[in-house]
């Protein structure tokens, strides 16, 4: 039995056949209403009688209206008045051959006579509590409409989907807000000149060429070191290493290295590259420090890309007598190169954005570099200190007086723009390579 909360189908469906039960009426079929009965029993009896008549005429049990309504009222005059929601809803389903049911939507009665019998039994045992104004609704269950259980599940599904969608949309909001605010503040200085001119007048005018090219070289040199080492280490760990204590120690080291804060990397860089390796504070020392910082992530992303190539490909090659290296070169690497490249490119933006690791290892507040000619493209030697965008931004913010706001915001826009551009390139590359995926 279902105590229903649903919308009253009588409002929307004019095909409901109504039986009115009015104790004050004396007989049956009285008055203005065609089907008016003195008691529920007589109404139920009339239902099965009409059903038999319909069957005799039609010889098919599926004919007739889908829904019957039994309305209990006090006075005949109220027959057309507003109704409460039906107190009980029962179902029958003629597609269920002969199985018993209890009239609920999940387990309906198999046909109309057994529905009448079921309702009679419920009524006689006193389990139908009906007050005037209440009604019972008996519907033929539709095969291709959802049950109430399925409807509830569908609602939950929709709610979950919208919650998750709202969460992911809320990620976009800060990005757009930051970009819009920065661009708005930096608008007056944003021009080609801002990129290509060196800082002038104690950094209160001019552009950002010197730090821009410095960042470029820092990223380039650090990745030239980190990418080969990281990729080869990833290949070893995924393709060759057995699961033993040695491999586990390496894995542990990689994970821990990835978790080291960048300022600690900076101190390590000072000790290892600036002092021990006698690089001094230089482009080389700063690049090495950035390389150490990006290495574990490159290793991890390489391993993941390699692990995505199905094992069965390797086994097929081994079975044909290919060595591990032949298999890696001909099958594994060509099919994982997209993932490996994406991992490396994402490290570009990380290396470009970090300030702490280069703070003590090679970044300079201000350097005078060539304004024109080929020298302006190679302003720093490996053993020179460099300017970098992230460091430049920090300097402008905290160390220099009377810097116009636009220049600070402009520097930030260029930095964030670079990062976004590199990330977008990684995404485009991945989409392109994935579209060529061969299995």
């Amino acid at each position: 039995m279902i105590e229903t909360k649903k919308k009253d189908p009588r409002q929307s469906n004019p095909d409901v056949r109504r039986y009115i039960v009015c104790p004050s009426a004396s007989g049956e079929g009285q008055g203005a209403m065609e089907r008016t009965f003195a008691s529920i029993e007589t109404a139920l009896a009339a239902i099965s009688r009409e059903n038999e008549v319909a069957n005799a005429a039609d010889d098919s049990n599926t004919g007739g209206e889908a829904t019957l309504a039994l309305d209990l009222i006090d006075k005949l005059e109220e027959a057309d008045g507003q109704r409460n929601k039906p107190r009980y809803r029962f179902f029958y389903d003629t597609h269920l051959m002969g199985s018993d049911g209890d009239g609920t939507e999940r387990d309906p009665w198999p046909d109309l006579p057994s529905a009448v019998a079921g309702m009679t039994e419920l009524h006689q045992s006193g389990r139908l509590a009906l007050d005037p104004g209440d009604s019972i609704l008996l519907s033929r269950r539709q095969i291709f409409t959802s049950t109430s259980l399925e409807r509830r599940r569908k609602i939950k599904e929709a709610i979950a989907q919208y919650v998750f969608m709202a969460m992911s949309l809320s990620l976009v909001v800060p990005v757009v807000a930051i970009l819009a605010y920065l661009t708005y503040k930096a608008w007056p200085v944003l021009s080609w000149d801002f990129l290509t001119l060196n800082p002038q007048s104690r950094m209160t005018a001019g552009g950002i060429w010197a730090p821009l090219i410095g960042t470029f070289f820092l990223v380039l040199i650090s990745l030239l070191m980190a990418a080969p080492i990281g990729v080869l280490a990833g290949v070893y760990l995924n393709e060759y290493a057995r699961d033993n204590w040695y491999t586990r120690i390496i894995n542990l080291a990689v994970v821990n290295l990835a978790g080291v804060p960048s300022i600690v990397h900076a101190l390590f860089g000072v000790g290892a590259f600036v002092l021990a390796a006698r690089c001094g504070e230089s482009l080389l020392a700063a690049s090495c420090t950035l390389a150490v910082m990006t290495l574990p992530v490159i290793i991890t992303s390489t391993r993941e890309a390699l692990a995505a190539v199905p094992m069965s490909f390797r086994e097929a090659c081994w079975n044909m007598g290919a060595s591990r290296w032949q298999t890696i070169r001909t099958i594994v690497l060509p099919n994982s190169i997209s993932g490996i490249l994406t991992g490396i490119i994402l490290q570009v933006s990380r290396a470009a954005g970090e300030t702490a690791p280069i703070l003590f290892t090679g970044a300079a507040f201000y350097l005078k570099v060539a304004d024109k000619g080929w020298e302006s493209f190679f302003p720093y030697g490996l053993d020179d200190r460099v300017m970098a965008l992230s460091m430049h931004l920090y300097t402008l913010m905290t160390q220099v007086n009377n810097v116009p706001d636009e220049i600070v915001y402009g520097t930030a826009v260029v930095l964030i723009g670079l990062v976004l551009a590199v990330n977008s390139f990684a995404i485009v590359l991945r989409v392109y390579l994935r579209s060529r995926k061969k299995w």
Binding site: F313, E315, A316, N319, M320, K438, W439
Partner: protein, 250 residues
């Protein structure tokens, strides 16, 4: 005459679990050995010992000797040469992510065959032997992974034949192939028997009956019985074998 393949009391363990228990059998040259047995009875492990791909399973430990032409495979220096002498087909089809042509050319290229005409002829021969040539001859350069499952399995067979092995191991090759193609490939196997020794692991008992010269019945990691196919199917010594081949096992 030395048997082509010989198992001398081979025991294989995966960690503590025994996968093959003291197996001794021998396969004469240019014959078909059918291996039948329920799941998890060690059939695939047995095949992996022949071309030593069992090496790739870190936990596996092998005792005893597998001899190919009298030479212990576990003592061989050049395991790649051994694997090129053994063709292997596993139950699930694997199309390598390259063209159909390159799939079959993979092993010959690795072995140093770069001659264009030699490759073309070899590839046509292998694809014909695998009953795939007629279906793919017009699209040899489309992706092997885009073929249907049954076609990919025949491609796998063609690849196994591409390095011209002297032993062919088939592990339930017909699981993804329709019955008509299966029958065609069975005819091919009988043809191939003139050139090579075939070890056929199968769940279709009747397939072993049709093809095998010798049949071995494995159960629970042990070799229950090996003998002429006729003997195994008509009057096996072991009651379990009789029940398995007649379908009353378990």
């Amino acid at each position: 005459m030395t048997p082509h393949i010989q198992f001398d009391n081979v025991t294989v363990r995966y960690g503590d679990q025994i996968a093959l228990d003291n197996i001794a059998l021998s396969v004469p040259e240019k014959s078909i050995l059918g291996i039948i047995g329920p799941a998890n009875s060690g059939k695939t492990t047995l095949l992996k010992c022949i071309n030593r791909t069992i090496d790739f399973i870190d936990t596996a430990r092998v005792d005893g000797a597998v001899l190919v032409r009298g030479e212990n495979v576990f003592r061989m220096r050049n395991v790649y040469a051994l694997r090129r002498r053994v063709g292997m087909v596993f139950p699930l089809p694997v199309g390598l992510p390259m063209s159909i042509y390159e799939n079959v050319a993979y092993a010959p290229r690795r072995a140093g065959l770069h001659d264009r005409f030699g490759l073309d002829a070899l590839i046509e021969k292998c694809l014909r032997q695998a009953v795939l040539w007629d279906e793919v001859k017009d699209r040899l350069h489309s992706l092997g992974t885009k073929l249907s499952g049954g076609q990919q399995q025949r491609l796998t067979l063609a690849r196994a034949l591409s390095h011209q092995p002297e032993i062919l191991c088939l592990d339930e090759f017909s699981i993804a192939i329709d019955p008509v193609t299966t029958m065609k490939i069975e005819d091919v196997l009988l043809e191939l028997k003139k050139e090579m020794t075939i070890v056929l692991v199968t769940n279709l008992v009747q397939q072993a009956h049709r093809l095998a010269d010798q049949t071995a019945f494995l159960n629970d990691s042990k070799l229950v019985e090996i003998g002429d196919t006729k003997t195994i199917f008509m009057e096996p010594e072991n009651k379990m074998t009789y029940e398995y081949v007649t379908g009353g096992f378990g």
